[in-house]
Symmetry: C2
Subunit: 701 residues, 2 copies
């Protein structure tokens, strides 16, 4: 949508085969300026497998009724978002995930793809929709059975039953297994008694709890016959049709939040509230009229994680929404940077557009590369999610992989959203702080994405534990001698890397290195080797450090684990970065248009180098990069940034946003018009002969 | 103010002399747990030279009338903050900086110290006060002369003339020299004609412009007799007493911002607005009735920078306010982390308080160390400011040093504020996102500190240029042969570092190193050597890279500079970090109480190590650290964090905040009471014999 004149060339597609046809970067300025991307084809790539649904959602939210109004007081904002949810129902936006018999489309991937786009309209709309259909509705659908679906899904889908998802408690956020709420079965009345035994067990931060919710899916310890069978989910009505609280249920309002103020978050407490036995969502655990408990899953732990796993879609959805929100911020900041002029360059010529400054390229372009990687990774995640939830690939292994993938990607994309939006806002100076230019609202709303639906650090810790378990599997059944040989190999590898640097042959290659040889040594294969090798070694190092734990007391073992907690989280982060890089690379390798492939290969290289630079100290300490090669990484990034600079507008145009999605005045072309007007004023003044002379020139005379 | 029971010991002061009395860290757990800080003495240290004024300001803002109300709609918030300014006048808070003859105290240091504390009440109050008295009032006072003071200062001080500081334009933020507004002298009427010649020259983002300002200090190109004498400042009335715009002046509202919505930021445009010749604030440049221009400062460039330099106090003030705001976030997050329990440790015992997790110590304690450094550095800055502005040390060199110091520290402290507040908010999970717990409001309000009063990157670039100039001075008058010898020495030094590592003797010392030897090698002197050496080499490297510029065309030279812009900015950042570290170290070395000195030395070490870890790749690439020593830095940080953990509550208590400053419910002790209630419930349940048994234990039977 940006002024076509912004580009140094029209985005025509040049067919060109680089030497050897390999998807690697060229080395001369001429090569660098030649290829152009096919913007529309890249849009298709970024929108991914469910592009049609995304386009449908984007079309719908062109209606200003869906847009966030900056500074709208909280009470009005909450009502507005509720009305938007009704509008969404009218547009058929709420039913995609549900079965056909309830008017749904049974299309899980499309459902999430559509919801992710709502972030462009108002993140409160995206999250309140997520609460209603992704959490409350999904709990009924995924954890309940046919009788529950018949009873409640129609009302969930048409929003006649707005609901809260009552999992989190004041005293327990991410540690769901330890929640305090109890659901005690009373065989005399065939009812469960839902109870909040102490203040810290109050359900908290629940969307729809403060005002709009008529029911809640309440997670509680299921107790029957004096036995606690662990956390299960119950359908609990909370308000009557006039909005009054039902007996025994109390609600408090969480009040103003850092963002997402279109959602009525609140608390719920239950004072011996009785619900029929029917209301236990009993797909994974059943209680008979006499109170006897049955479940297909014998292990309480596995049953718990199966139930939680059924709700993974929240994380998939946040990963995508964070990626799209980040893209919007980059679109705005890079479009502005291509129009805004500030300072002359020192060469006495006219003022320079921001994106021609080295620092400006450096601060924004690696983040653009990162965001592209996130798009590709999110599509992989969405495909895996759709496979499992459609039943096509619903195996325990696939479910576990899906959960690990979601837990790897959601932390990275949501953190990246905050840091990228912030950098983008700063790159636009004071204009970036004005709400109408979108950055500050996006940052405020997306802030909580990093700690909800699983705190990012805790998710990464889960991933880390999975990585450790996979690592340990390699040694299963091996005898002590084999393990000892392995341990020696590890140490030798480390010493070898640290001392000789022979494995990558860098010491020789880099002595007297040129830019070209550096780039040759940091191409796709080497990037992969560096990124993947880091994950492997970090996991191996933590595993080695934790090995003595089996001989320690539980308290000592816990202390040992604690002292390596931060490293384990870092290993999981490295794993997530590798996944993003691999997804990006796979995406690039599917491109047939050579110009597009070339530019996106540079962008992928920039992402790879950005990751390697971020962890450069690790690569040096562990002997994976020579100091010479490490020193060249930053320069290589500078070169890649300069090479990509002419393509920056194309690359953000390829997000496919339309003016109704962007809305930011600074990315509307107004800045260019102002700059042009100012330059025309000075040109005319100079031509008139009436321009004041400068004091300096006067002194020279 | 936190519960005394939080601490593992009462904060009594233990007198103890560590081995040798050296201000360095001990090496055993016993040593580590022994010393305690004297909390009150540390409060005195942190409050610094103007502690009395700070305490006075903190006492004043205990009045809830000064507090930010979360979610208050913008119009009400703006009126509230205006009324707070009047309240401030009543308390005598507006006059400290002004001369005695206008009822002032002529106390510049105290003035800024007092204003900084207002951030605890509402950052909008701090900044709107800064606009009125620090910018608008200071422009009149610093850039005007006696006649202007007599005319306007009383009204400025008592707020009968609310004013805007009209420097920034839509088209020019940090590049003030290039602003488009003109002030053309008309000798016939002895008036200046203030004019906005095109849209981009509209003054923008001005506090008091949208609603409350009656006048503005307008920066414009002074043109007389057909000559442009550059940017000067003019006093321009903009509204009548009823709030109507004066003829030729138009105002627009900037609307909702990311924060600071208690301030009525807006735009001002002037259509040939005439003001008397009198209204030129003429301390540094005068226009006679006939239009002839005079100035004591012959160089237009130096005159411009002298005028801007007179307004340095904004940066000094932001550095302090950002430091205090960061302290508040750390107080809240660390107090909560000392009370909140989450997950059992895996040892099957009770749940662990957050601050006992390795990751939690890692994420917060280095930020605490950094914030302490900022307090010490800000006091140094404030003392230098007071020296110059009181006239005691008002020399050109001191002014330049003051400006460089402010430009070095303000970027670091304002960026640190955002990253620390964000980390603190995330460390409190969902609670951190609720507005009443303060983090989100602080982040939103302080966001713009990083780009106003000089964009942080541009300030650091200024510092970088100063560093380059100082570096070049070393070679002034040296002949070519000497320079050549120097160049060789540089290269040799680099090779020497890179290859042999002999200078620090690390390779030998670290072979088979123990934790103790690592710590011995990273003490005060070595920290200083590493930090200072980095600044020196970074500057030397950029200087060497830019050396060919003198032989290039202006355009080529500009391109060369541009390609090293990011590195120059990094060198300036390193310089700022060194200054903070030095200030912290000087502060620690003034402490006499041994326990306090011990703990603060660990904290200073943590700050030093945190900086070195951040730049570890640089130290490795440049041969300043061996890989072995570099690998040990992170472990040393872990040990320091664990050693400081028992002192964390003391260290944040030493900020001296009272409940009226903190206000966050999660830091009020409520969390502890909830946790205690929950644990008592389970204890009583277990004692009753009626606790449900777990399914797991059932299966075991």
């Amino acid at each position: 949508m940006a002024d076509a004149a912004v580009r140094s060339k029209k985005p025509a597609v040049h067919k060109r085969t680089p030497a050897g046809g390999a998807p690697t970067a060229p080395h001369t300025a001429a090569e660098a300026s030649e290829p152009r991307i096919d913007v529309n084809a890249v849009t298709d790539l970024l929108l991914g497998t469910w592009a049609a649904t995304r386009r449908e959602a984007r079309e719908m939210i062109k209606d200003p009724a869906f847009w966030r109004i900056d500074g709208q007081p909280m009470p009005e904002h909450r009502e507005r978002v509720l009305s938007q949810l009704h509008l969404l129902v009218e547009h058929g936006g709420s039913r995609r995930a549900f079965p056909e018999e309830y008017g749904g489309l049974n299309d899980n991937g499309a459902n999430l793809a559509g919801f992710m786009e709502l972030v462009l309209a108002d993140p409160s709309l995206q999250i309140k929709s997520g609460v209603q259909w992704g959490l409350f509705g999904s709990a009924i659908y995924q954890l309940g059975t046919k009788k529950h679906h018949d009873q409640w899904l129609p009302g969930v889908i048409d929003l006649s039953i707005p609901g809260a998802f009552a999992m989190t408690e004041m005293g327990h956020g991410s540690d769901v297994a330890a929640i305090g709420t109890t659901a005690t079965y009373d065989p005399d009345t065939e009812e469960f008694v839902i109870h909040t035994p102490f203040r810290a067990a109050t359900k908290d931060y629940l969307g729809n709890a403060a005002l709009h919710g008529k029911a809640a899916t309440v997670f509680a310890q299921l107790i029957t016959g004096g036995v606690n069978y662990g956390v299960h989910c119950f359908y609990v009505p909370i308000r009557d049709d006039e909005g009054g609280m039902l007996p025994g249920v109390t609600s408090e309002d969480d009040g103003v939040k850092g963002g997402l103020n279109g959602i009525d978050n609140g608390r719920l407490a239950f004072d011996h509230v009785r619900v029929p036995r029917f209301n236990l969502l009993d797909r994974y655990g059943q209680v008979a009229p006499d109170g006897s408990y049955t479940s297909d899953i014998a292990s309480p732990g596995r049953r718990f994680f199966t139930m939680l796993g059924a709700l993974v879609q929240g994380r998939v959805s946040l990963d995508g929404a964070a990626t799209t929100g980040t893209a919007l911020a980059l679109y705005i900041a890079l479009t502005y940077a291509n129009q805004r002029r500030q300072f002359d360059s020192g060469a006495g010529t006219e003022e320079v557009v921001l994106l021609d400054y080295g620092k400006h390229q450096r601060r924004l372009l690696p983040l653009l590369a990162q965001n592209y990687a996130q798009f590709f990774a999110n599509d992989e995640l969405l495909k895996k999610f759709d496979g499992v939830f459609s039943g096509r690939t619903d195996t325990p292994d696939e479910r576990e992989d899906l959960e690990t993938l979601a837990a790897s990607l959601k932390p990275l994309s949501t953190w990246n959203a905050l840091s990228t939006i912030q950098e983008a806002r700063e790159a636009c100076g004071g204009s970036g702080f004005i709400a109408e230019n979108r950055f500050v609202g996006l940052h405020q709303d997306l802030d909580v994405y990093v700690t909800f639906e699983g705190d990012n650090n805790i998710l990464l810790q889960l991933v880390g534990k999975r990585l450790l378990a996979d690592y340990a599997k390699q040694f299963k059944g091996k005898d002590a001698a084999a393990l000892a040989r392995f341990a020696v190999g590890q140490t030798a590898g480390k010493l070898f890397h640290g001392a000789g640097l022979r494995q990558l042959g860098q010491a020789v290659a880099d002595f007297g290195s040129t830019a070209r040889s550096v780039e040759l040594g940091l191409r796709e294969d080497q990037q992969h080797e560096l990124l993947a090798g880091r994950v492997q070694q970090m996991v191996a190092d933590v595993a080695a450090a934790l090995r003595p734990a089996s001989k320690l007391s539980p308290a000592e073992a816990a202390a040992l684990f604690n002292s390596h907690q931060a490293e384990l989280i870092e290993a999981a982060r490295a794993h997530g970065e590798l996944l993003q890089w691999e997804a990006f690379t796979d995406g690039v390798n599917r491109i047939s248009d050579e110009g597009t492939k070339q530019v996106l290969t540079w962008l992928r290289d920039l992402f790879g180098m950005h990751l390697i630079e971020k962890h450069l100290a690790w690569y040096l300490i562990n002997g994976r990069l020579s100091t010479q090669r490490a020193a060249s990484v930053s320069r290589y990034i500078d070169r890649l940034a300069a090479r990509l600079r002419p393509h920056a507008q194309d690359l953000v145009d390829a997000y496919g946003f339309e003016p109704e999605h962007v809305r930011a005045p600074i990315a509307s072309g107004a800045e260019r018009r102002r700059q042009d007007e100012a330059r025309e004023y000075y040109r005319a003044l100079a031509a008139s002969g009436e321009a004041p002379v400068s004091e300096k020139s006067l002194k020279k005379k």
